[in-house]
Structures are given as C-alpha cells and as structure tokens.
C-alpha cells in the first residue's frame, strides 16, 4: 500500500460513495457534539491526511466490544470505520491468520513507527508471567508491551481494558490488569462499558484519526463528550426519582408505570456513560428503557459491589470479608447502643459495690 494513502482513498476502494462519505462526516461530527461547520473539517481531514493505521489487539475479554462495534446503529459509520481498521490488524475481523497476521504487526511497526493507534480490547493477565493469555506462542502482555512501545496513543476499549472487569473480580487468580497499569508511558483513552456503545466507539476512533489528537478527557481518562454526565442526569425516568416514585418490585404498579428503578438497584446515579442519550442499537432501547436498572458496567469495580438489585451495595470490611454497607453501619450503631447500655449497667453495679465496700471499711475502722 502507498504510504500517502488517505482515509478517503481507503473508503472509496471499499465502494463507499462520496455521498455516503459526506453523510458519515456530518453524522460523526454531530455524534461528537461538534458544530455544523465541523462536518466539512472532518471531511477535509479524512480526504487529505495520510491514513492513521489502527491496530486492534485482544487480551482477556469476551469480544463484546467488537460485537458492539460491528453493530454500530448507523451501519454507515460501522462500515466506514470497519473498512479503515480491518486493513491493519484485528484478530476477529481481518482475513489474515497465523503467521501472515502476526507479520502485519511487524510491518505496521516498520512503516508507521510512532504513528499508529493501538486499540486494546481486554486486558493482560500478569500472574505466572502472563501465561493465562497466550497469543502466537507468547504471553499477550509481551505483545501488548511491544506494540505499545511503537504506537502513538492507546484506546482502552471496554471495562476490561479500562478497569479490569469480571476477569479481575476477586480473587483475580490470573491477575488481570487494566491497560493503564501496564503501559505507563503512552496517552490512554478509556472507553469503558461492557461493551461500550457502538456510536461512542466509532466517535472516539474517528476523532482520533481525523483530528490527530486525543479527545478531551475527564479526570479518569474518559472522553468528556460521552462520559461527562451520569446516566441519572439525563435519564427520562429522573422526574420519578425526584418525585419519590420508585419501582419497589419488578412486577408492581410502579414498574408498569415506568417509575424510577433506584430502589431495585439501578446504578444510574453513580455511572458515567451515554446510554440515556445515545441509547443502544441505533436508539432502539437501553437498560432503563427496557425496565431494568443500570448495572453500572462502565464503572470501576462494578463487578465486585454485591447485588445488582440493591441500592446500598457491599463494602470490603476487612481483608476478604465483605458485607452490605447497610448492615455494617447498622451493626456498628447498634453495637454502640448496646455498649453504652452495658456500660451504664456496669456503672450502677460499680457504684453499688463501691458503696458497700466503703461501708464495710467504715464498720471495720469504726
């Protein structure tokens, strides 16, 4: 492939018409929250800039990120981005396999050293020198480190790469570790969610390849345009929360009326994601819309917080002992009350015996 190939060239090669290309540009600009003039800028960038290759690696994961990605609600965006990234390396999507596939990685490093984007789905297990995830005969963590050494930036797809997710759940026998704790010297964009929303994924990747920089990130490294607010802040059931109207059980009147799901464990109030605005599968639905609370799948450690169906969740008490925060706190207060009562009783007894011994003393001395 010629080194000066642009994104537009690649898209045209894949049979995407100019009309579709422009549509994609305006949709993506809108999705990123950019003004109308950015559709033209996006198109210009994609037409003139040399294509940035994307290497898509898979560690310990379930491929739900890829599954979400290829089901982008807007098929156009999916097709376009897909044709852009499948050219390089993506175990699941590319045609090549075996030695041919692994060779592509080295070729990319040679041609685009320090220029390509490394998209990581899943995370590396570090225990036993990374032996819990072997690719091409080598631990995945080595492959990840090797590819990260030569990349420009990293996208951490999904909760696995961002936080660790279920394979990092206690006791985490394989020591599955999120990307930002393994690769310390490259800029990392976290795109958490299990999986992330397809439009969020295509939006982030388009922003990075078109504008040649990271999207604005929040304190925890997530793109602000998609993770700037909690689900709860934009939830269409929020008025029911403020009114104090809750679903108490999944088959009650409140559930039929579409009341707030907070009391049956919805984690919307503590979850940063775009589900309540972009929704899923092209705006078809999302968890709360379907009548089930949010699990908080885009949040750190959501897998180790006890029941998904309780508003008050678990806390680590000591060591590996966990208990519901409600029980821990209630027990503590009850213990204080009982302790106080016992001490009061002790005081009364002490006073009584004290008097008696004093009297005895007086009798003896007298």
């Amino acid at each position: 492939m010629p080194a000066k190939e642009t994104f537009y060239d690649v898209m045209r090669k894949h049979g995407i018409t100019r009309r579709s290309f422009l549509k994609f540009c305006s949709l993506t600009a809108a999705g990123l929250g950019l003004g109308p003039e950015f559709a033209g800028k996006l198109a210009h960038a994609l037409e003139n800039k040399p294509r940035t290759p994307v290497i898509w690696l898979h560690g310990l994961e379930c491929t739900c990120c890829s599954e979400s990605f290829i089901r982008s609600g807007n098929p156009l965006a999916g097709d376009v981005i897909l044709s852009m990234i499948s050219l390089d390396y993506s175990d699941t999507l590319m045609a090549a396999a075996g030695y041919q596939a692994e060779e592509l990685l080295e070729q990319t490093i040679e041609k685009y050293d320090g220029e390509y984007i490394l998209a990581c789905e899943g995370n590396p297990p570090l225990n036993e020198d990374g032996m819990y995830c072997i690719q091409g005969g080598k631990p995945y963590v080595e492959k990840l480190r090797h590819m990260a050494d030569h990349c420009k930036a990293i996208i951490a797809w999904g909760s696995c790469a961002s936080w660790g997710c279920v394979q990092a759940a206690k006791p985490n026998p394989t020591q599955a570790t999120p990307i930002h704790k393994v690769i310390l010297d490259k800029p990392i964009v976290k795109v958490p969610g299990c999986p992330p929303i397809a439009e969020v994924m295509t939006g982030v990747i388009t922003y990075m390849v078109a504008f040649d920089r990271l999207p604005p990130l929040d304190r925890q490294g997530r793109p602000k345009m998609f993770y700037g607010q909690r689900l709860h802040d934009k939830c269409y059931r929020r008025p029911h929360f403020d009114a104090g109207q809750f679903v108490e059980a999944f088959d009650d009147e409140g559930a039929r009326k579409g009341y707030c799901l907070y009391k049956v464990g919805c984690k919307g109030p503590t979850t940063y994601n775009a589900c309540s605005t972009i929704e899923w599968n092209g705006g078809l639905s999302w968890p709360v819309k379907s009548g089930h609370g949010c699990l908080g799948c885009a949040e750190d450690n959501f897998w180790d917080k006890g029941s998904f169906y309780s508003a008050v969740t678990n806390l680590k008490v000591a060591g590996n002992v966990e208990a519901n925060a409600e029980k821990v706190g209630g027990t503590l207060a009850a213990a204080a009350a009982i302790g106080v009562a016992a001490h009061a009783a002790g005081t009364v007894i002490s006073k009584a015996t004290g008097k008696r011994s004093k009297q005895a003393e007086e009798v003896n001395n007298g």
Partner: protein, 238 residues
C-alpha cells in the same frame, strides 16, 4: 499554650470557670443539629421512603430530601471551617479539637487513668477544666477527621450532580482519583454516617454519665460555657 494545665494550682479546679466560649457553644449545637438532619435525610437518600402515588409533577419528595441534605451539608461544612478558625483564635479549650497535646507525657498519663476508670479498674475520679484526654481524642477523631472525610466524600458526590465544571468538582473531584468507583465513595460516605451516629450515641452517654458521676458538670457547660466543680478537693484522681 496548649498545655493541659499541669502547673495550674488547685484554685483553678474549684468553683466555676469560663471554658467554652460562645462561638464554640453555637458551633456545637449547630453541628449537632445539622448532623441529625444529615443522618436522617442521608438515610432516606440511600433507602428512599415508600413510593409516592399520583403524578410525578405533584410531588418532589426525593428532590426536597436531597435539597435539605445538601443545605445542611453546606452549613455543616462552613460551621467546621469557622470552628477551626476559632480553634486558632479562641481560648486554649477551643484548641483541643484541632491539636490535642499528644506530645505531652501528662496527656497520656491522664488518658491512661481515664481508660482505667471507664473500664471500672479504678474508682478514682480526676477533675478536668476542658475535655478529659479521652474525650479530646474522640473529638479530634470524629469531629475533625471523620467530619472532614464526610465533607470531602459528600461534596465529591455532590459534584457528580453539579457537573464537571462546578466548584464542587474543582475542590473535591480529586476524591475520585483515590477511589475511581463513585458507588464505593457513596458507600463509604454512608458507612461514615453510621460511624458518626455511633459516635453521637457514645458521646451523649458519656456526657450524661459525666454529669452524674464526675466531679464537674457536663451538659450545662455547653449551654452557658461555665465549668462548675462539684468539690473543692485536689485535681488529681481521688
């Protein structure tokens, strides 16, 4: 300075003595009131009341509970800041909450006596002008550090609703760098409430007990500020 009064003569342990200045007393009762309001509203934020009926537009129950919680929290936080200011400019008894004299041997000797007394290992009772060493330690742990913990986690949670460019996020957003899971911050804030309730129970008990059993007054000192000694005997345990 922050001495625990080793050199003080017995004269200072007889009759009555002005100990708790007005700002300290006002703060104490504001603190107690806001804590009560915060604990009750906080409990109902974590465990909402039974579902309201009727149209959502007719009710704003949860919204009001949160409003009261946030308002009380602001008073609580500002109150603590003013109290800490008073710990610097106020009298020596106001300073105990900020800096108990941990570096003084006599503090620990008296602490040891207090512990023995509460464990019924001795019946001797000492006199104190301000707080006894054990009480001072509890004030320091709960009214200073636990209160700061609750303020930091509380405003961090508040910043989630207030938005990424709010003052709350600027000042307290760092909490999520220490604990990225906001659900966990929420739970620690909730557990902190229960710890505070436990402290309040023990505190109220201790004060009433001291009022009855000790050689000085308890409750009334926080009302008019005067420490009154019940006997003219020496300060040391007897």
């Amino acid at each position: 300075m922050a001495s625990s009064g080793v050199a003080a003569s017995n004269d200072e342990y007889t009759g009555s003595l002005y100990v708790f200045e007005a700002p300290v007393r006002v703060w104490h009762w504001v603190h107690a009131l806001t804590l009560t309001v915060l604990a009750i509203t906080g409990y109902f934020i974590a465990n909402p009341l039974p579902s309201q009926t009727g149209e959502a537009s007719d009710s704003f129950l949860m919204g009001n509970i949160r409003l009261v919680h946030f308002s009380a929290a602001m008073v609580f936080a500002v109150g603590l800041v003013l109290r800490l200011y008073w710990a610097i400019v106020g009298n020596r008894y106001a300073r105990g909450m900020l800096t108990p004299p941990f570096w003084e041997r006599v503090y620990w000797r008296r602490m040891w006596h207090e512990i023995k007394m509460y464990l019924f290992l001795t019946r001797k009772v000492a006199k104190y002008r301000g707080h006894n060493p054990l009480a001072m330690m509890f004030m320091w742990l709960f009214n200073l550090w636990l209160a700061i913990f609750m303020i930091c986690t509380g405003f961090a949670l508040y910043s989630q609703g207030a938005g990424a460019d709010s003052w709350a996020d600027t000042l307290f957003g760092w909490v999520f760098l220490i604990e990225p899971s906001s659900q966990a911050v929420r739970m620690w804030h909730y557990v902190g409430m229960w710890v505070m309730v436990a402290f309040a129970i023990v505190h109220i008990y201790m004060v009433i007990r001291a009022d009855v059993m000790s050689r000085q007054n308890g409750i009334s000192a926080m009302i008019d500020g005067y420490r009154r000694f019940k006997d003219d005997g020496p300060r040391s345990p007897q």
